[in-house]
């Protein structure tokens, strides 16, 4: 009879194991759902922009290191104060480059600047398609294209 008690105890422990496993799954499911909702919110917030430029190297406050510049579909870059992206640096031409979003991708085109535009360290001589994560060097400012 004791063995019968033992069998029932074993069964209870086995069921406990499975139950705990499913309790854990339930916990995961709850966290997943909660995150899904907050992810939708952040996505809605970030969907307003089509990308941004994170400043990873700069010499002054325009632009400031560690900031991110929100982008519109057409952005002029230069030392001209009317530029969409104003860079206060002597090595940058007045109208230096154009950063445009066409269809699915970003493109950068040099506007005949004196010191040129670099993508991932390479000087460009024609419009170049950019991927998120690519680095632009204009004058002494280095920026990364991000989502």
């Amino acid at each position: 009879m004791t063995s019968e008690v033992l069998r029932i105890l074993i069964l209870a422990m086995q069921l406990g194991f499975l139950g705990l496993l499913y309790l854990l799954l339930f916990g995961f499911a709850r966290s997943l759902l909660r995150d899904l909702r907050s992810a939708e919110l952040t996505q809605m917030a970030s969907q307003s922009g089509i990308g941004r430029l994170a400043v990873i190297e700069s010499i002054g406050d325009e632009p400031a290191l560690g900031t991110a510049i929100a982008l519109g579909p057409i952005n002029s870059i230069g030392r001209n104060v009317n530029s969409t992206i104003f860079i206060d640096d002597d090595f940058v031409s007045g109208s230096h480059a154009m950063l445009t979003f066409r269809g699915r991708s970003w493109f950068i085109e040099d506007q005949g600047s004196t010191n040129g535009t670099y993508v991932n360290g390479h000087l460009i001589d024609r419009p170049v398609a950019l991927s998120f994560g690519d680095e632009l060097t204009i004058g002494r400012v280095r920026m990364r294209l991000e989502r």
């Binding site: 019968e4 069998r7 029932i8 074993i10 069964l11 699915r104």
Partner: protein, 514 residues
């Protein structure tokens, strides 16, 4: 854009996980039972190897099969070779056959007849309790039938037409499986000896023998035609006497009568035609019934499909019988009228099992309803000392599946009357009188029956057949129906009929003696 692609990717991955989950569910739930009962499943082998196994008893509680566990190996002992084919064997080396196979789970206790207990045993991982089986067969009748067959190759099967209970089921030659049902290390020798013996002893002729029936199939032809109204017991065919001399031409093929010897051709109706076993008369009857109705009646009697003895769990499979060619496991349409006319007197492509023929006799005896055959009467708790007989605790009682009507009781009575004449009538006595129980010391009881002589082609001695039942007189309820075949035994009257009569008489005496 990448985000969209990732979302699509996650959908594909979910589909992947869903399909492996589906396959998993298939093996774990839907196909689990089929897997669990495969003979090469190590669990089946392990259970057979080390677990105690239930005993098998005859209808009076005589021990037929029992096991002892010695050195961790279960050894099986069989008491009577007359039962070998139906009980089968449970060998650690060669798998299991017969009832040992189909009742494996219940004999070893791996499953329990009570679903709740079964579930509890399963989820609590209890050691299984074996169960014992009691058969419907009386060992005295089984041994008597086996002795009657003697060294002949053949089979005897007897059924209680009222219930479908199998009363005797013998296939000859037989063998003793005890030698290879113990220690697997010493099993090969005895097994190979049986496998190499003459006459294919492993074959259960009752369930797996395929024979041409010859004249005994005329009972089916008559039963169908009477029920359909194609003939009455008084119907005659005008050209008969002339045809008996010249032969009856069907589509250019001549059907001839067998040797009628002392009998002069005449204008026969059903009873005399069955007594002389006229091929031409039954060819006419078959043609009158027509190919579609003929197949329909054959199916009603159980032909053209696999049969089984008992119902699940533990049903013993029986090979199908055919009245025409085989197609998709059933009967193909008759190719022409020649085939139909020949089948109507039991030749052409007809192929039957002795069990099906016993069912044919039992159906006529049972007022036209086919009884569901069964062989295991009950399941009991395991008796620790099986020599003392089974325990009194019966867990389950089994019966046959209910009888299915095949023909009207009116038609059945008319066939019965003709079958009585075929054994005891003025002419029938000459052919089948050896099948009458009165010959074997049972007086005042009439016997119905039919002999058959199945031609096998030139140079081969025909198979000798007999089907019958008793008591058959008006107002009596038959308590035994029988089919007997003796391979190469010659005429039905010569070999099979006396065995049939003796076995039926023995049963009537045993039943009267209690």
């Amino acid at each position: 854009m990448i985000a969209t692609n990732i979302r699509r990717l996650s959908l594909y991955l979910v589909l992947g996980f869903a399909s492996v989950s589906g396959a998993l569910a298939w093996w774990q739930v839907l196909d689990a039972h089929a897997l669990a009962t495969r003979q090469d499943n190590p669990q089946v082998i392990a259970a057979r190897r080390s677990l105690p196994r239930g005993s098998i008893f005859d209808a009076q509680g005589r021990l037929l099969a029992s096991s002892t566990v010695l050195d961790g190996i279960s050894r099986r002992t069989y008491a009577d070779p007359a039962f070998t084919h139906l009980i089968g064997y449970a060998s650690l080396r060669f798998g299991a056959t017969g009832l040992e196979r189909t009742w494996d789970d219940l004999l070893t206790g791996r499953s329990d007849p009570n679903p709740l207990r079964d579930l509890l045993n399963d989820i609590l991982a209890r050691q299984p309790d074996p169960h014992d089986l009691t058969l419907t067969i009386d060992r005295r009748l089984e041994d008597f039938a086996a002795a009657q067959l003697g060294h002949n190759v053949g089979a005897v099967v007897a059924i209680d037409p009222r219930t479908g209970a199998i009363l005797a089921m013998v296939s000859s030659p037989t063998y003793d499986p005890t030698g290879f049902s113990g220690d697997p290390a010493t099993a090969t020798g005895p097994f190979d000896a049986v496998a190499g013996a003459a006459g294919n002893p492993f074959l259960d002729r009752v369930r797996q023998g395929h024979y041409t029936p010859g004249s005994i199939l005329k009972v089916l032809t008559a039963a169908g035609a009477l029920d359909a109204g194609a003939i009455t017991p008084q119907t005659t065919f005008p050209d008969q006497p002339k045809q008996e001399v010249d032969g009856f031409v069907v589509q250019g093929f001549t059907i001839r009568e067998h040797d009628l010897q002392p009998v002069k051709p005449a204008l026969w109706a059903l009873s005399p035609a069955l007594q002389v076993s006229s091929n031409i008369f039954f060819a006419h009857v078959g043609l009158g019934l027509g190919p579609d109705r003929y197949l329909d009646y054959a199916r009603r009697f159980g032909f053209c499909a696999p049969l089984q003895i008992g119902s699940d769990p533990g049903a013993l499979p029986v090979d199908p019988s055919y009245v025409s060619g085989q197609s998709d496991g059933g009967c193909a349409p008759f190719s022409d009228n020649v085939e139909l006319a020949s089948a109507a007197f039991g030749q052409a492509r007809v192929s039957v099992t002795p069990l099906q023929m016993a069912l044919l006799a039992a159906t006529i005896a049972n007022d036209g309803a086919v009884p569901g055959p069964f062989i295991v009467r009950d399941l009991r708790t395991h008796a620790a000392a099986p020599q003392g007989g089974p325990t009194a605790i019966v867990l389950e009682i089994y019966g046959g599946e209910g009888a299915r009507p095949a023909i009207s009781s009116q038609a059945a009575r008319e066939v019965r009357s003709a079958m009585i004449d075929a054994v005891q009538g003025p002419i029938g006595r000459l052919y089948a009188g050896a099948g009458a129980v009165a010959r074997f010391g049972v007086s005042g009881i009439e016997t119905a029956g039919k002999t058959g002589t199945a031609e096998r082609g030139p140079g081969l001695k025909p198979h000798s057949w007999f089907i019958g039942f008793a008591p058959a007189q008006d107002g009596a309820t038959p308590s035994i129906a029988i089919a007997v075949i003796v391979e190469g035994g010659g005429t039905g009257s010569g070999h099979a009929a006396p065995i049939g009569g003796a076995v039926m008489a023995e049963w009537l005496k045993l039943a009267a003696g209690g």
